[in-house]
Amino acid sequence: MKTIFKMVNKQLLIASGCLVYLVASPVNASQLSEQRWQEFNLAAVQQHIIPNYQTLVEQSNLLVTSVSAFCEDRSEQRLNAAKSQFKQTQQAWQNIQHIQFGPVTMLMRNFSLQYWPDKKNLGGRQLNALLKQAGDAPQYDNEFFNRASVAVKGYPAIERLLFEAKLFAQLDSNPSYCPLLTAITEHIASNTQSIVTEWHAELANYHHYAEDALYQSPREAATEILKTLVEPIEAISDGKIAAPLGKTLAKMRWRKSESWRSKQSIENIRTNLKSLQHLFSGVSGASTKQLLIESGAGELAAEIDRQFSQINAALQQIAAPVAMQYQQRQFAQLSSVQQQLKQLSDNLLASMQPLQIKLGFNRRDGD
């Protein structure tokens, strides 16, 4: 595509040269400069996105090692170590799950790493189907993964293989069990490594802005980053709390929650929020919070930061379910967290106004 646009780019370069001078400047005097947005972008990419993906690579590599070690002797001790490592790796993914642009969206990597919610139990059915083919001594190579369903390529598949008793019963009887388990961990590790490698190349997009480049201005690049800060809150509330919680305790189905097999449903949400808070106020130099303060919205900025901490504290108070069932107390606590997430989401959306950021019009609310 790049070559086709070569000529057009030239035209546009001329055009955008004019634009700088001709477009009437917006009214608000406190408007942040493009330079400031550029600092914001680099802070988010270099202090948040790339380091978090780098951690994900490290954690995914540790999972390969730990699962391989377990498969060697299949001891209880190494199984526990693998399970514990899985939880850590899963948290590293939850830490960067909100990024839904850039390399993770290429080649369906986002779905491959985590196919969830899996309403039709695709993961379960596909894993069973694969394990049944053990007699054919299948090769779990690149070609296998190119053809395999997204439901068996990521963390949820590992979780099932390590934590689901029915599946795990096949460990010794099925010659494919360990080879498949190990191959999936290796596939994940290589997938996450590609994301980091590509993000380093992606950095170039944050140094070249033009009408037909990936981003037309630093502010536009910042919009993409801010979407990943604002939009996940509602998705977390709807998908990770409202859906499994249901409207009444009687209707609650905690098996609809994320990572219930490894009992990390709530931990996931806490990690999500901690990471989003880091993106909001934890990066140094030009965080969203800092820019809100510079735009005269310091109170709102402080309120949002406070809400992040408050929700995380509230989540910490929620006891684990017993036999996948919650009591009225936990139901009330989770309902309250939903309310708080709604307020946080509203505040984050409201904060786009002082920042003069439009998250997207047709794409967010079409017809």
Binding site: M1, I4, F5, M7, V8, Q11, L12, I14, A15, S16, C18, L19, L22, V23, A24, P26, T105, L107, M108, F111, Y115, K119, K120, V150, E211, D212, Q216, E220, Q356, K358, G360, F361, N362, R363, G366, D367
Partner: protein
């Protein structure tokens, strides 16, 4: 409702809109027979919705305040009027005078009904057709109103499904083709995604009867047919939105010719997953040989060459691009975006030219050629 128009004299605009005269440097734009003006609903920085008419030099010709978000805009074929209808669940439809910028008439939907955001006008300029819903159950209606009788309702009949959206006249106005989206909504909340059934219905306007109905196979039951375009030979271009699993690979664009099955237009997988299973507007070029469909969630406009076995041409990036109308020459389209841009695109030449830019305005879903 604010019924006052803001009548801005023509010469005053250039600075006002902040739109740019880029086209002078770009000779391909100044075609003698090109449509000179375009119209679209929009929203400004303060959240106020406007109907805006502008020419391709960026001069604003009409700017009329809207009571809420609108959807389709349509030029009356014989009068100097522009019609704008509220988006669903819509309560207003306005007729604006293009010369004075003043309101000619405002109508509302009947009690218990609402507009669905799209309309058509018969070629003789006498009749207005709108898709409407019975609010309670989203049962689809076609409502016919008479321009010679202050747009009083002449008749209404079933659209052939639930949640009708875009409609088009074809066969020299003898037939109405309607996209019944199949989704029952309450205040825009979708209520029946597990049971939904979308269809394309052809309605004989002489009898109000459905003469042909195209349904999707069960595996595609959660595809919603929403936007359509029709060419001179009554071929229907269909843009769809999928309501099922996020990872499902489903057709999003199709062509239909009466009496034949649907023919899906291919999208390569690498492009498909960028679209988030969502298409916006559908449009034929002036000659019917190239078609365009917008995919705002994928920041893309997709093109197919109908003169060449419906071959997929490519996608061209337009951030938050949604409105499309045919340009002056073969294969040419005008595209508007939620980021205040208007482009002229010719996919065969892979050319994309910025016509207008005003980042204080977000162009809404549909763009119309005014004349």
């Amino acid at each position: 409702m604010n019924n006052k128009s803001i009548n801005v004299p023509r010469r005053q605009f250039s600075g006002y809109l902040g739109c740019l005269l880029l086209s002078a440097a770009l000779p391909s734009v100044s075609m003698a027979n090109s449509p000179s003006s375009y119209a679209s609903a929009s929203v400004d920085d303060r959240g106020q919705h406007w109907l805006i008419v502008f020419d391709q030099l960026g001069n604003q010709q009409v700017k009329y305040p809207l009571p809420s978000r609108a959807h389709q805009v349509l030029k009356h074929p014989t009068q100097p009027w522009l019609l704008v209808v509220a988006r669903r669940p819509g309560q207003y439809l306005l007729v604006i005078d293009l010369n004075t910028g003043a309101l000619v008439q405002r109508i509302t939907a009947s009690t218990g009904q609402h507009f669905c955001g799209h309309m058509q006008i018969s070629a003789d300029g006498k009749l207005l057709y709108t898709t409407e819903n019975i609010t309670l159950n989203s049962a689809g209606l076609i409502v016919v109103r008479d321009f010679s009788e202050q747009l009083q309702t002449l008749q209404q009949f079933s659209s052939g499904g639930i949640g009708p959206h875009q409609l088009k006249l074809c066969d020299a106005d003898k037939t109405l083709v309607v996209a019944n989206g199949g989704i029952h909504t309450k205040n825009r909340q979708k209520l029946n995604l597990q049971q939904m059934h979308s269809n394309l219905s052809y309605i004989n306007l002489a009898t109000s009867e459905i003469t042909e109905q195209v349904m999707l196979d069960t595996e595609y039951a959660q595809l919603s047919i929403r936007h359509i375009a029709v060419d001179d030979s009554s071929r229907v271009l269909i843009a769809m939105q999928y309501q099922g699993e996020r990872t499902a690979v489903v057709p999003l664009v199709a062509l239909h010719q009466r009496g034949e099955p649907l023919s899906f237009l291919a999208i390569p997988e690498k492009d498909f997953f960028q679209l988030q299973q969502y298409c916006g507007s559908a449009c034929f070029d002036r000659t019917g040989s190239v078609v365009a469909v917008s995919a705002p969630k994928g920041d893309s406009i997709l093109f197919w060459d109908l003169a060449n076995n419906n071959r997929y041409l490519h996608k061209i990036k337009v951030k938050d691009g949604c409105g499309i109308t045919a340009g002056a020459s073969e294969g040419e389209f005008i595209v508007s975006s939620g980021r205040g841009r208007v482009y002229q695109i010719n996919p065969r030449q892979a050319s994309k030219t910025l016509l207008l830019k005003n980042t204080a305005i977000q162009w809404d879903n549909h763009l119309a050629a005014v004349g």
